[in-house]
Amino acid sequence: MTDSRLESKVSAAIVAVFALLAAGFALELFGGYRPLPENPLVDPSFLETKTWRASYADKVAAEEEVFEYDCYFCHEEKKKLELTFDDKGAWVRPEEHENIKMGHGTHGRNNNCFNCHDQENMVLLQPRDGTTIEMQDSSRLCGSCHGPTQRDWQAGIHGRTSGHWDREKGEFQRLNCVNCHDPHSPQFPGRAPAPPPNYLRKVGKQGSHQDVEEGAEQAEESEEEAESSDEAEPEMDDSEESKPEAADAEKSEPEAEKGKDE
């Protein structure tokens, strides 16, 4: 009888342990699976490979409005253009060209139409050497001032080259100056950046990420390491006592967080 009593006690104890474990898992007392919130998908516009600016050729290809490139719709052919100036001698931009933002060169020193445009033929450009350049060949005009940049561009260093790096395997595309730069205001305008990363830790804290820095994911890892070293505690020597303590201190942090959440 005593044997069977002992036996039933032992089996009851084992059952109790399993039952507690089961209850623990069911109630997720040990953390359980917290479903991760879905990160919002990035706006597809950030995945587009098109450049900052649509050039004349791009607009023609996309069948967009190219009216502003048709000079002789308004202007008279072979008539020399005249500029108008105000009382102080500053150039007055005609209303029809209000959409042109003049910002070429620091301190506005290159904001003069005929530095680049031909005064008599509006479809031509003129560099400083007296020759003329067709509109579609504008890179040569740019290079007449920006020599080093043009040299880099010709070598493929400046500007993006897309397609195939291995020229034997396929085509590649080298962009022109005006594919990216607005010739009237060549510096890139500011643009909204794509969203920043969403770290696991950031997610766990439900968006409060002001002090999350570079080591967010590393911190996750160190937490797990802390837990595993905690389990190994009984086997450790006295000399290593400081380690489990540190691990405890680290472990208590997520528990405190959990309490906060609840």
Partner: protein
């Protein structure tokens, strides 16, 4: 025990019935509790198929073995995402050493490269895995302790700051490869350090060894929206990963070994990224290394010899 039950007298039958009931109940509850306590096992997603379990090491596979493996991966992806991908095993080309150059003067910090990389390489969206981090640092210093990669201004670039994208540096002397206990990651002859996702045991030693924080671990099952999956896949490249394996930038192996530029380069609106074969003197990267002020390999004092170079204009 059973003997006792059989030899009981009718007088004692009542307590023995109670006992046997209790015993049966205990055993039943015990089994149920045991099953319940093994619940985490039930939550194991994606248990390995026999084919995958018995798969050979990458370098030991014959072309026929590889063909079978690629078909298996195609089937798995089709089952999971509803579209049949084209998975290839691209080998390094002879006489090619890949090098990446990044112009810090041109980078505007728009993070388009980060998201183009995610889309190209089928990275998990939730939890998020990104191979590229863009660090924002004040002009006049290169103090990564002060770098911010959570910046969200209305417009970039911001006055007084520069931006430094960091990704796998494809070191010539890679620390991550040395620590791998199962040789699941190695350096190929074109300089790309690759990972066999089917061989990785998920110990994360390589993540700890990498001085650039370039390696990412799949802590959970990766989630990729079905409509955003990239079906042009490579075995060592962008095929979907499982939970519990490591991944990192592989210079878009599925593109670059087919002769194309990487995705991060093609999306860069500032032309700050340059990629090519450094052994070809006519390549863009060879010209940059020859003529530009290439001033750093990141953390060059560690002797990792990155194949990723940062340079300045002017």
């Amino acid at each position: 025990m059973s003997e006792q039950t059989e030899t009981t007298t009718p007088e004692a039958a009542d307590p023995m019935k109670r006992r046997s009931f209790l015993r049966a109940a205990t055993a039943g509850a015990g089994m149920a509790a045991l099953a319940a306590s093994l619940k985490p096992l039930l939550e194991m997603e994606d248990p390995p198929s026999m084919e995958r379990f018995l798969q050979k090491y990458y370098k030991e596979m014959t072309p026929e073995d590889m063909k079978k493996v690629l078909t298996r991966i195609e089937n798995e992806v089709e089952k999971e995402y509803g579209k049949r991908p084209h998975v290839r095993d691209l080998k390094p080309m002879d006489g090619v050493q890949f090098v990446y150059c990044l112009n810090l003067t041109r980078c505007i910090g728009c993070r388009k490269c980060v998201h183009a990389c995610v889309a190209e390489n089928n990275q998990s969206r939730s939890p998020e895995i990104q191979y590229i981090r863009v660090l924002k640092m004040p002009h006049g210093s290169l103090d990564m302790e002060k770098a911010d990669h959570d910046y969200t201004p209305d417009q970039v670039p911001e006055e007084g700051y520069f931006y430094m994208p960091v990704q796998c540096q494809q070191c010539e002397n890679p620390a991550c490869v040395k620590v791998c206990p199962v040789n699941a990651t190695w350096q190929e002859s074109d300089g790309i350090t690759v990972i066999d996702y089917d061989w990785c045991i998920g110990c994360r030693y390589c993540a700890a060894a990498c001085p650039y924080f370039a390696r990412r671990f799949n802590f959970a099952k990766p989630s990729i929206p079905k409509d955003r999956i990239n079906l042009d896949m490579a075995y060592l490249g962008n095929r979907p990963r499982r939970m519990g394996v490591m991944e990192k930038c592989h210079f878009c192996i599925q593109r670059t070994r087919a002769g194309r530029y990487p995705a991060c380069l093609e999306v860069c609106p500032a032309g700050a990224r340059k990629f090519g074969n450094v052994l070809d003197p006519e390549s863009e990267v060879a010209k940059i290394l020859a003529t530009k002020r290439v001033f750093i390999q990141l953390k060059e004092e560690l002797g990792t010899m990155p194949r990723f170079f940062y340079y300045f204009d002017v």
